[in-house]
């Protein structure tokens, strides 16, 4: 929370700078504002920027870099051999594994911040923690000092530069548009961040499990043993059953969503009176606004038992976490998505097509089936692809209503698991960061990202092309 006080101070300093700059501009112009190149407020803003911006950049850089630097210093100052716990083995500092380092650091940090450490720690750790706390304090003081110096230097030069011929407005506008440019690259940075973090962790995973086994293996049981000699300790990471489960649920969802969404869109755009359309459409949109966790609860509490009981009553053996229940509810969730996208697409078909067909004596349904739908087909395909990508990436419904065990089956009455379910289960709880189980979530995430990205790119292309055709 110290950080927020620091930032608020910086904001306050900038505001002071603004008023000083504005006043000075007035003074240098002898009170005649028309002699200034820009309005006084621009001179003020210019000073404020020079006070705030360099100091803020310094702050951001410092905050991002201090942790690794301090950690490096702490490790560097360790004796050759340390004990983690009071009675623990001696460890050679140079030969610590990544896991040991993480554990050591966690203990150090917990003690330094006053939290209780997980186990009785050794003096080595305590000493390191004291060192760590000292370094953090020092770093914080240095950061404050550096920020204040930066702000002062900025203020000094900006303030001194004020004179009637200075082009304050142009400078301010350049800075503002620069800031906006930085903001708009954030989207790209996010994508890069996603790609890098997924690739990085997946690479770690693939050093432990071969990509061939991951992509083509048919046995998925990511539980790693607690003891090394336990049966099945290795864990199996053949993701085919997980992909197949995802596919099965997606197909079920599409079987529900595509016909219902499409027929609803056709009815609303071609048959319904404007009044009906303007009431039914927003009501259907509510389905899209319901949070997925609510659908998940609905699927698990109501639909899954219903499907199971209905199946049992006609003599079918239905799992209580059947793919069917999760798929149907997911389909319901996607209906408004399909229908509103198809609605747009159908409305983009020019009226002249309809006129041409009606003019020949076609009925409405003939016109729709023979003319409108074929004309709208590319757009509808795009919409369906987007819906598929949505279904594949949907998490909460399957986490709550689909199973955990990876069955390789096409039977909708059995329980299957999906990519997103595995990501959630392998990463929640207490993840150890370098076990293959945890890392497998990132590999699955990478597959998920690549597949949905491809679907989206293709779908957006198709829809774009389609729109251009009729515009």
């Amino acid at each position: 929370m110290n950080y927020s006080i620091l930032l608020l101070t910086l904001v306050a300093l900038s505001i002071v700078g603004y008023y000083m700059g504005r006043n000075r501009a007035r003074v240098t112009a002898d009170g005649r504002i028309d002699r200034l190149h820009s309005l006084p407020s621009y001179y003020g803003t210019n000073v404020a920027i020079w006070v705030g911006l360099p100091a803020f950049i310094l702050f951001a850089g410092w905050a991002a870099l201090q942790a690794p630097i301090i950690e490096g210093l702490v490790f560097g100052s360790l004796p050759d051999q340390i004990r983690m716990t009071v009675n623990g083995d001696l460890l050679a500092t140079a030969k610590m594994t990544a896991a040991q380092k993480t554990l050591f650091l966690n203990n150090v940090q917990n003690i330094a911040t006053g939290d209780i450490a997980s186990q009785a720690v050794s003096d080595d750790v305590r000493r390191a923690a004291a060192h760590y706390a000292r370094l953090r304090g020092l770093s914080f003081m240095m950061m404050i000092g550096a920020m204040l110096i930066a702000a002062a230097i900025g203020a000094f030069f900006a303030y001194r530069a004020i004179n009637p011929t200075m082009r304050a407005r142009n400078t301010v506008e350049r800075v503002v548009s620069g800031v906006m440019l930085v903001c708009s690259t954030l989207a790209v940075m996010t994508t890069v961040g996603i790609v890098l973090s997924l690739l990085f962790e997946s690479f770690d995973f693939f050093t432990k499990v071969s990509p061939i086994e991951f992509l083509f293996g048919t046995d998925w049981s990511p539980q790693t043993a607690i003891r090394a000699d336990q049966v099945g300790s290795s864990g199996a990471f053949g993701a085919i059953p997980v992909f197949a489960g995802t596919l099965l649920i997606t197909v079920i969802a599409m079987i529900v969503a595509v016909p219902v969404g499409l027929y609803a869109a056709v009815y609303l755009s071609e048959y319904a009176r404007p009044k009906v359309r303007s009431t039914v459409k927003p009501v259907m949109e509510i389905l899209a606004g319901v949070p997925t966790v609510v659908y998940g609860f609905f699927a698990a509490l109501t639909v899954a038992p219903f499907v199971r009981d209905a199946g049992n009553s006609i003599g079918l053996d239905v799992a209580s976490e059947s793919a069917l229940a999760a798929g149907v509810v997911m389909g319901v969730m996607i209906i408004p998505f399909v229908s509103s996208l198809s609605d747009d697409v159908i409305n983009a078909v020019p009226q002249s097509m309809r006129d041409g067909s009606y003019g020949l004596g076609a009925t409405r349904s003939e016109t729709i089936r023979e003319v409108i739908l074929p004309a709208a087909l590319p757009g509808i395909v795009g919409a369906v692809l987007l819906a598929v990508s949505r279904a594949i990436g949907e998490t909460m419904i399957v986490v709550m209503a689909a199973g955990l065990s990876a069955n390789l089956t096409a039977n909708p009455f059995e329980a299957v698991t999906t990519v997103t379910v595995q990501i959630v289960t392998n990463l929640t709880g207490d993840p150890e960061f370098d076990s293959p189980k945890t890392l497998s979530a990132f590999a699955l995430g990478l597959v998920l990202f690549v597949v949905t990205l491809c679907l989206n790119v293709v779908a957006l292309r198709v829809v774009q092309k389609y729109r251009e055709k009729y515009e």
Partner: protein, 436 residues
Amino acid sequence: MSDTIAETPTVMIPDQKDRIARRLGRRHAAEKRFRIYGIVAIGFALAMLAFLLTTIVWNGYSAFFKTYVQIEIHLKKDEIAPGGRIDRAVLAKADYQTLLRESLIEKYKPEGRRARRRLTGLVSIGAGEYIRDFVLANPSVVGTTQSIWVPASADIDQLVKGGIDRNLPETSRRIKNDQLAILTRWEKEGRVETRFNTGFFTQGDSREPEQAGIWGALAGSFFTMIVTLLLAFPIGVATAVYLEEFAPKNRATDLIEVNINNLAAVPSIVFGLLGLAVFLNFFELPRSAPLVGGMVLALMTLPTIIISGRAALKAVPPSIREAAYGLGASRLQVTTHHVLPLSMPGIMTGTIIGMAQALGETAPLLMIGMVAFVVDIPGGPTDAATVMPVQIFLWADSPERAFVEKTSGGIIVLLAFLITMNALAIVLRKRFERRW
């Protein structure tokens, strides 16, 4: 050419007329069928919505009510204040739960440990706090016997509300016969009451269903949304303005644009993975904190705000810009003085819709540890917290019957927020919609 024309008849041959007429019935039947398919599709979607909402309301409305029972309790002086000194510190520390248990056992004299446990299981584990508050409000009652209203246990609560069938055989009922007998007696004496459950709105999570409230999750959602809004709104608007008003049309801006469109369709859970790998593991920000949750949701909401912001900016006609440029305004002035104020309602609408999405989002928050069991009410964006949808997820995962009610109740609260936000967006759009 004229040959072919001469061959064909001038008017429709009767045969042709007949052929058309003969098919008419079939064609109109097909037309009717097609129309019915459309109605069935819409009916199905609306029925599912109605089914979903009624299930939630049916299961959840009772979460807003809570059963209380009036217990006669002997507030033994030597147990509350063993030293004989009666001051607030001593009174606040006494073990009222045990006192309550002893009072019950003395009165109904159950035989055996199990019967005793069943008897004391009639009242909530949190009942002691109610007695403590009662005593603290009026210390002179120490040493007397008082009738005090305390919350019933979750099972009794369910039974009174009708969630458990009294006519089931004892073996398949969570409430046993001796418990039922006492409860029936209490009901006759007017010692059982159902009141509005204020605790549901003022308490944090709990392992005991009757004690669990949504306030902690609400506070967590609040801090998360604040962080999301503070990040996503300025950055989103700046991006939209830059791309729409400032950016040159070149490969780089094309790339940014394509990127934003694709980012809007990336599964939310992937943002969670990003948050886990970058914010938690790389920058070592605190786990389970609304700060990180808000940052992740901000990244997820950005594309929505940018896309709707650009649409709103595009809707401002160029004539406004030209008029301002004509007066010698700079590009930034044109934007901040004219274009941005005119497009603000549209941008706000998009922002509210994006925030509503973020408020209902669960999956990415599971990745960054906001799924922890948190009893305390978070006091700031760096405290461990959970948010409403995650709270609903946690409750939905709990096996007790009483949590079904809590889950549905939580969903009702969440939906109320979402409906309010969306209604606000609609009002905003209707109110400020401008036709140029």
